[in-house]
């Protein structure tokens, strides 16, 4: 039945408007959703990639930052 409805769908030009409304709704929803987030959580999440202790020498031409742990597998 759905196939029949679609086969004879005459208002295909309205797809643009429908899609635009869909987009605006989703985008607005996402912005509102985001605004409701607690700042403390966002700040904490933003720090996830960072090391707990600030990298003392982050530049590649300085000494490496990875510690050599005893018993670590080396090649």
């Amino acid at each position: 039945m759905i196939q029949n409805v679609l086969r004879n769908f005459t208002g295909i030009d309205t797809f643009g408007i429908v899609s635009l409304c869909l987009f605006v709704s989703v985008f607005t929803g996402a912005i509102i959703w985001t605004m409701l987030q607690k700042k403390s959580h966002l700040d904490a999440m933003a720090r996830v990639p960072l090391d707990p202790v600030p990298d003392p020498a982050p530049l590649s031409h300085l000494q490496p930052t990875l510690p050599l742990n005893p018993g670590e597998h080396h090649e």
């Binding site: 769908f9 797809f15 985008f27 987030q37 607690k38 600030p54 590649s60 490496p64 990875l66």
Partner: protein, 742 residues
């Protein structure tokens, strides 16, 4: 296990980190393997590109062999750069960052290595089959069906490994980079499977199940979103991880990253039809593609600004650190490309830019700048850390940066000039209303200096890659590889981890399954709304009574056309512009392509459009042109195809191919298939007789040249055979969607 001070963050996150401290090891082995593969395939892929670029002003570099012609080298270049260089770079970045963001080793070492070796095998398969002419001809999806299946299997292995690692994570909430990785895994799988649906005719020959307009829509839904979800989303994830790491400061706005993610994945999938503006694609689909492409600026620039503003207060580091220099240029190039893309998707701009070098310049701003420089940035950051040493030469890395940047400029600026020149020359009329440059070759010759400059840019860029490989190799030699890197993290506390379902984004970040489902829904909506009506609504592809399936000889000729990659330089889509109808003839209608499996509309006109070439020249012209294009068109840059005159046409495959085409919907009858050999003989003799009458007396009837002449002479001729009183109704129906422009 020992008590360890926890990072100072908010109480919510701390609550999940109260489990016992666990010690575990990250797998760096597979990361190193992908890093090495990235660098090597980068060199190979760009070198293939340089060869293709040089062939465009120095046709002798085609070497007059089938395997080295532009039509086969170009897809080799694009596949090598996209899937080998960027693909390995993507896996390298994901395998490194995912483990650290999840505080867990990869789910399965076995799956990691299946992913690595399987991917390399696929690339080698592509490197062998594409020069052999085994291709589907669909851009960025040229690989034939056995390799398509292999890609699906390896991609599933990667996805299981990704999701398995996320399931074993010790961080409750998934960081933004992981969202982009999930979107990549899911969407690429969907795109690849649906665009690769084809019926095999032999071990390395298949026909797309879609035809004409529908095939075009599915292909560019795939093609555009391959850019989105293979070249963009994984790299955005990597940007969100490696940029804060290198700058040693958190991302500028985590709130913005949430909007960036959902906005981007929801909108991107709709934008595919902007590759088909002014074609026979129905107007409603073109409009959707255009509007959503313009909207795409918002999330894309949100992401770019988020990246660049992360460096606020840290620009002094950019001066000292080559890795950050590469990253800044990469993110800037992302911003430029994602502003330019929507501009090119505006119909009036697209009318000038499409089919020209402008598109190539646009693509390379993204490929060389965004993907290339971000990959170099990643490698310069990773390799010293994997080897617990410092970079061998910062000076050499800086040379790489400047040479690469100069190379990029020398690449794109001439091509932008070339594209605009090309577009304007095609459209220029004299004051008397005639085409100013009626001979297509005039534009080709005008562009040669720009193509030469582009090759200089490519050479510089490759020189930079060589410097990087030397630098990284020396770095590896100087350090000691840490294969299994130890780390500690508290286990997730199951009780504290059970967060109440508040339907906030924070909750969603902690439930990967729900997150994956929502991501899938977001990316599927656009595809469904665009593609389903195209298949079901009859008025989208009005049939034209006089359009018939190809004869067996034409069908084999079409396969030769596909094998030689002619679609890389010749479109088969006359757009409804006066400048095009004057040059080529009647503009193309959707109903003319209903038997085209696959469609061959093309995306670039290095040579002229061929949709109305049927009957335009005598058979002898095609014969001489294929033998050596300079015989008929002095100054032409088209490769010679002497082997078409000597290679025997394999007619034994015709039955199986017609049957495969029948399976995808072409109405060949049993009699058509049974009598195919006789039909081929009869049509070949007719062409040979015509050739003899045009002073080519030595043409043997059983060579490939005869089949390709048959195909070319058929192109676009079906509507010419419509009864004179019929076109008004039949053609008008098919013209509803694309009215001619003044």
């Amino acid at each position: 296990m020992s008590a360890t001070a926890l990072p100072q963050d908010n109480a919510g996150l701390r609550a999940h980190r109260t489990g016992p401290i666990e010690t575990f090891k990250y797998d760096n082995h597979v990361v190193r393997a992908f890093a090495i593969a990235t660098a090597l395939w980068g060199l190979i892929g760009t070198s293939a590109g340089l060869l293709a670029a040089c062939q465009l002003f120095w046709p002798q570099l085609n070497l007059d062999t089938p395997f080295t012609t532009f039509g086969r080298i170009r897809p080799l270049h694009t596949n090598a750069v996209i899937f080998a260089f960027v693909g390995n770079g993507m896996f390298c970045g994901i395998y490194y960052s995912l483990q650290r963001l999840c505080k867990a080793r990869m789910f399965s070492d076995l799956l990691s290595w299946i992913n690595f070796w399987g991917w390399q095998a696929i690339i080698v398969g592509a490197a062998i089959t594409l020069p052999l002419g085994l291709t589907t001809s669909k851009e960025y999806a040229e690989l034939e069906w056995p390799i398509d299946i292999a890609i699906a299997v390896i991609w599933v292995a990667f996805t299981i490994n990704l999701l398995g690692t996320i399931a074993r994570r010790r961080e409750k909430h998934m960081y933004v980079a992981i969202w982009f990785y999930i979107a990549t895994a899911i969407t690429v799988a969907i795109l690849h499977i649906f665009n690769s649906l084809e019926v095999p005719a032999s071990a390395f020959k298949s026909y797309s199940i879609y035809a004409g307009v529908q095939d075009a829509l599915v292909q560019w839904w795939y093609g555009h979103n391959a850019v989105a979800f293979f070249l963009t989303t994984p790299y955005l994830g990597m940007m969100y991880y490696f940029l804060p790491k290198a700058a040693n400061r958190p991302v500028f706005s985590y709130r913005l990253s949430i909007i960036h993610f959902w906005g981007l994945i929801f909108i991107y999938i709709w934008a595919g039809p902007h590759h088909l503006l002014y074609t026979a694609l129905p107007d409603w689909a073109q409009s959707l593609g255009m509007v959503f492409s313009i909207m795409l600026v918002a999330p894309s620039w949100g992401g770019m600004l988020n990246g660049l503003l992360t460096l606020r207060g840290a620009w002094d580091k950019v001066r000292q650190e080559p890795m950050l220099k590469f990253m800044v240029v990469a993110v800037t190039a992302y911003g430029m490309a994602t502003l330019e893309g929507p501009m090119l998707a505006i119909k009036s701009v697209n009318a000038l830019s499409h089919y020209t070098d402008w598109t190539i310049a646009h693509v390379h701003t993204g490929a060389l700048g965004w993907n290339g420089f971000l990959t170099f940035s990643l490698l310069y950051w990773l390799v010293p850390r994997l080897y617990n040493t410092k970079l061998w030469s910062v000076k050499l890395a800086n040379y790489h940066f400047w040479i690469g940047l100069l190379g990029m400029m020398f690449y794109v600026v001439p091509l932008y000039t070339s594209g605009v020149t090309q577009g304007l020359m095609w459209k220029q009329f004299t004051s008397d209303g005639f085409l100013q440059y009626p001979n297509f070759l005039e534009t080709v010759i005008r562009l040669i200096p720009m193509h030469q400059l582009r090759a200089v840019g490519g050479t510089l860029y490759i020189t930079g890659i060589v410097l990087m490989i030397i630098n990284l190799h020396r770095t590896m030699k100087a350090g000691r590889f840490i294969g299994d890197e130890e780390d500690q993290a508290p286990a997730l506390n199951p009780a504290a981890s059970r967060e109440s379902m508040k339907l906030g984004h924070r909750w969603l970040e902690g439930v990967p399954v729900t997150f994956t489902v929502l991501t899938t829904v977001a990316v599927v909506i656009g595809g469904l709304i665009e593609i389903v009506p195209m298949f079901l609504i009859k008025e989208n592809v009005p049939t034209i009574a006089s359009v018939k399936p190809y004869t067996p000889l034409e069908c084999l000729g079409r396969d030769v056309y596909i094998r030689e990659g002619c679609v890389g330089c010749h479109s088969q889509m006359v757009r409804p512009f006066r400048s095009e109808t004057e040059r080529y003839g009647e503009y193309s209608k959707a109903g003319e392509f209903v038997y085209d499996h696959p469609f061959l509309w093309g995306s670039k006109r290095t040579g002229p459009d061929l949709h109305r070439v049927g009957g335009k020249y005598p058979d002898a012209w095609h014969f001489n042109h294929m033998e050596n294009p300079r015989n008929t068109s002095p100054g032409s840059i088209m490769p010679s195809y002497p082997w078409l005159l000597s290679q025997r046409l394999d007619t034994t495959v015709v039955g199986v191919r017609l049957r495969a085409l029948r399976r995808v919907g072409v109405p060949y009858t049993d009699d058509d298939i049974l009598n195919a050999p006789q039909s081929i003989d009869a049509q070949s003799k007719k062409i040979v007789t015509a050739l003899a009458g045009q002073s080519i007396t030595n043409a043997p009837p059983d060579r490939e040249i005869i089949a390709i002449i048959a195909y070319l002479q058929r192109l676009g001729t079906d509507i010419k055979s419509m009864p004179t009183n019929a076109p008004a109704a039949a053609v008008a129906a098919s013209l509803n969607h694309n009215q001619p422009q003044p």
